[in-house]
């Protein structure tokens, strides 16, 4: 057998095979990445024009894409209901009602609800501040909110999301969200509403991140997701015409479960404070929350 001749034939055969495999890999990747390609400036302009026809403008800058992300495993944060009640009501903790596993404390002036899924809701009873009253100053509200967070022990991992003054209602709202490994968990929040009389309402749901899980997947560009969403203009909140920011983070409903996976989302936040959450894998809207 002429070994050198055989080698030449094998080299040619394997070269052809490698070229074939290389082309196959390339075309596969092209198909895969096309869905997540960075949009061109023309595509962004096109989207902005489409938004304009709906009367929607983009006040911030367009984030074009983010690094691939996996799911985030989370669980509900256990809330010691009686301890929270003592902090709210002091020594005179009122009797509780327990419908559906929830604990409701009320002394007629303040009501506190704590669920098994770790959700806290507090509101002060009584007539609302008359319209036109002055909304509390942002700096003052921030200090008061941070005091509450400090007492709750939520400050590590909490990041100020926004402060919004509603002069018409005489209220100022402030929202803190949770940050894990540099990414916001939008489902975790501590939300306050203050009037000139002090804290009127407080909502808290705070998750415990357990770590990333599953494979990292490429994220669909928010430009592509929003362009797709424009096919369903009803999804846009009627009175929200200014997009303030689009950021990537994690989102999930709150479940009364042992643990669950939160999905990466693009949060489209409007100037009014309302947000749209777009699944960053599929571009489909997840949920609209205040």
């Amino acid at each position: 057998m002429d070994w050198s001749r055989a080698k030449v034939i094998l080299i040619l055969a394997f070269s052809l095979l490698n070229i074939f495999l290389g082309v196959l890999t390339y075309s596969n990747n092209q198909r895969y990445y096309e869905r997540w390609a960075v949009p061109t400036a023309a595509e962004v302009r096109n989207l902005e024009n489409q938004l304009k026809t709906l009367g929607v403008t983009m006040a911030g800058t367009w984030p074009l894409r983010a690094a691939p992300l996996p799911f985030l495993l989370v669980k509900a944060s256990p809330v010691p209901a009686d301890e929270v009640a003592r902090k709210v009501f002091g020594l005179n903790v009122p009797g509780i009602k327990q419908p559906n596993g929830e604990k409701i404390y009320s002394d007629g002036q303040q009501t506190l609800l704590v669920t098994e899924a770790g959700i806290i809701r507090y509101h002060r009873e009584g007539p609302a501040k008359p319209a036109g009253g002055k909304a509390p100053e942002k700096g003052q509200v921030k200090t008061e909110a941070e005091t509450v967070l400090q007492r709750r022990g939520l400050l590590p991992g909490a990041r100020l999301d926004y402060i919004h003054q509603d002069e018409e209602r005489g209220r100022t709202t402030v929202r803190y969200s949770q940050v894990y490994e540099g990414l916001e968990i939008f489902s975790s929040e501590a939300w306050f509403e203050f009037s000139a009389n002090g804290l009127e309402e407080y909502r808290e749901r705070w998750l415990v991140p357990l770590g990333f899980t599953g494979e990292k997947r490429l994220l669909v560009s928010p430009v592509v997701a929003l362009a797709r969403l424009l096919q369903r203009p009803d999804v846009f909140p009627g009175d929200d015409k200014v997009i303030e920011s689009i950021t990537v983070g994690y989102y999930s409903a709150i479940y009364d479960a042992r643990q669950w996976e939160a999905t990466p989302v693009w949060r489209v936040r409007f100037k009014s404070g309302k947000s749209l959450y777009l699944n960053a894998y599929t571009g489909e809207p997840e949920k609209e929350t205040p």
Partner: protein, 444 residues
């Protein structure tokens, strides 16, 4: 020089071989379009991959009426059942029936024999049955009188009685059939002796043609094997891209998957609930809805052995409004008896776009429990029901059916075995369930 060239070509060849292996492996394991996911220990394999509509709509029971008021019952899987069923399929007319006859004629034939009565699982039009059984092409008109039974008359004049037992209505189609010889071809000792219940029993009104076991019946329970669910594997069947489905581990051991649109809850026992919201669209033809249901079951774990359609509810919200949705409930048989509880083991809601809701109550059945016990006879049970309901001053509605079954627990509820029960059905779909060993009510 020659040595160096030889070494270089060898190295080049080795490199090319390595490169081709690497590229193949990369394509195989990392291509987003080729990944198939891990295989696992998985129990819910497709039991009946070739199942079709005919199988889902075959008779729930066949009663051979012999001369001298003797009746033998055959259930799917019993020796003799297939012979009688294939005989019927071969001789059933392909046309609509025209001659209405008195229902009393059917009652008389039941008693005098020889005849074979086929109790169908659900009330449908004769055309719908013809299309489902492949006796005429699907897609044509579906309207014709409804039937829930038919009866082959084996004495002259031979022919087929099409019976709407619920409405006590009957039509006769005269046709040459095999004679009573077919009964002689049944395997020796095949069939269970049954007797017909009277239409009035201690104040309880019963439909005609209800047959119950003739003598004492010994029944065991069904022992359950430990569940071996592979949640990941099961979830793969329900999502186009399972990697997009996130997992919620619930406190009771159930796992919920959602991709933001569809939702799937899997219970460790094998039960599941699935929803995929879709626009209702226009109303489906009944056979089209049934075909969609069967196709869905085949591609989502496979229907269990012995599956039968039990109820079909077009536009199920009860207001008469066209919702574009059809609800289909299926049962399956084990040890010759259907499995059901307060809900049916398989329930689907179908719209034009496909299945929008699916629940499955499934248990891994190991086999009969070791000890057999005598069950209440139908007459004893009815006496007890009449007495208890009478004492409670409750009106007992007319019963359209009474049969033995195995009791399935509620969705996701634990159970160590399945007990035999008596199921009493009303014409409106109501069900009263009684423990067949003790006669105690279990649910309604």
């Amino acid at each position: 020089m020659r040595f160096r060239t030889a070494t270089a070509t060898s190295l080049l060849l080795a490199f090319l071989v390595f490169l081709s292996l690497f590229q193949t492996a990369r394509l195989w394991y990392f291509s987003p379009y080729l990944s198939s996911g891990p295989a696992g220990d998985y129990d819910l394999k497709v039991e009946k991959p070739g199942i079709d509509l005919e199988e889902c709509l075959r008779p729930l029971a066949i009663i051979a009426h012999l001369e001298g008021s003797q009746h033998l019952e055959f259930r799917p899987g019993d020796p003799g059942y297939d012979l009688l069923w294939q005989e019927a399929l071969a001789h059933l007319p392909r046309e609509d029936f025209l001659t209405r006859v008195s229902y009393g004629e059917v009652k008389q034939i039941r008693q005098s024999g020889p005849a074979v009565e086929y109790i169908l699982p659900v009330r449908l039009s004769w055309r719908q049955y013809r299309q489902a059984w492949g006796l005429e092409p699907a897609g044509g008109a579906e309207e014709s009188p409804a039937i829930d039974r038919f009866l082959l008359r084996l004495s002259r004049p031979t022919g087929v009685y099409f019976v709407d037992n619920l409405q006590a209505d009957a039509h006769f189609f005269e046709k040459a059939l095999l004679s009573a010889e077919i009964l002689g071809q049944l395997p020796k000792g095949a069939g269970r002796a049954v007797v017909e219940l009277p239409t009035q029993f201690k104040g309880i009104s019963l439909a005609d043609g209800l047959f119950v076991p003739a003598g004492p019946v010994l029944l065991s329970g069904l022992a359950l094997a430990p569940a071996r669910m592979n949640f990941e594997q099961e979830a793969r069947l329900f999502f186009v891209d399972p990697s997009l489905a996130r997992k919620v581990e619930e406190r009771d051991g159930a796992v919920f998957y959602t991709d933001g649109v569809g939702g799937l809850r899997l219970y460790p026992q094998g039960d599941l609930e699935y929803t995929l919201p879709q626009p209702a669209g226009s109303s489906l033809r009944l056979t089209a809805a049934l075909e969609k249901a069967v196709a869905f079951l085949k591609s989502h774990g496979g229907p269990p052995e012995g599956v039968l359609v039990k109820e079909i509810r077009p536009d199920p919200n009860g207001s008469g409004e066209k919702t574009g949705r059809t609800e289909i409930a299926l049962i399956f048989l084990r040890e010759g008896l259907p499995l059901l509880g307060e809900r049916f083991p398989l329930e689907l809601e179908i719209s034009e776009g496909g299945v929008t809701r699916f629940t499955r109550i499934w248990r891994f059945i190991a086999g009969p429990t070791p000890n057999k016990r005598t069950v209440f006879s139908a007459e004893s049970l009815l006496s007890r029901v009449a007495q208890e309901e009478g004492e409670a001053r409750r009106q007992i509605p007319r019963l359209s059916n009474i049969y033995l079954a195995y009791y399935l627990p509620r969705l996701g509820a634990p159970a160590s075995y399945l007990r035999p029960v008596w199921v009493l059905e009303t014409p409106t779909g109501g069900r009263y369930i009684y423990d067949a060993w003790t006669g105690a009510p279990l649910g309604r």
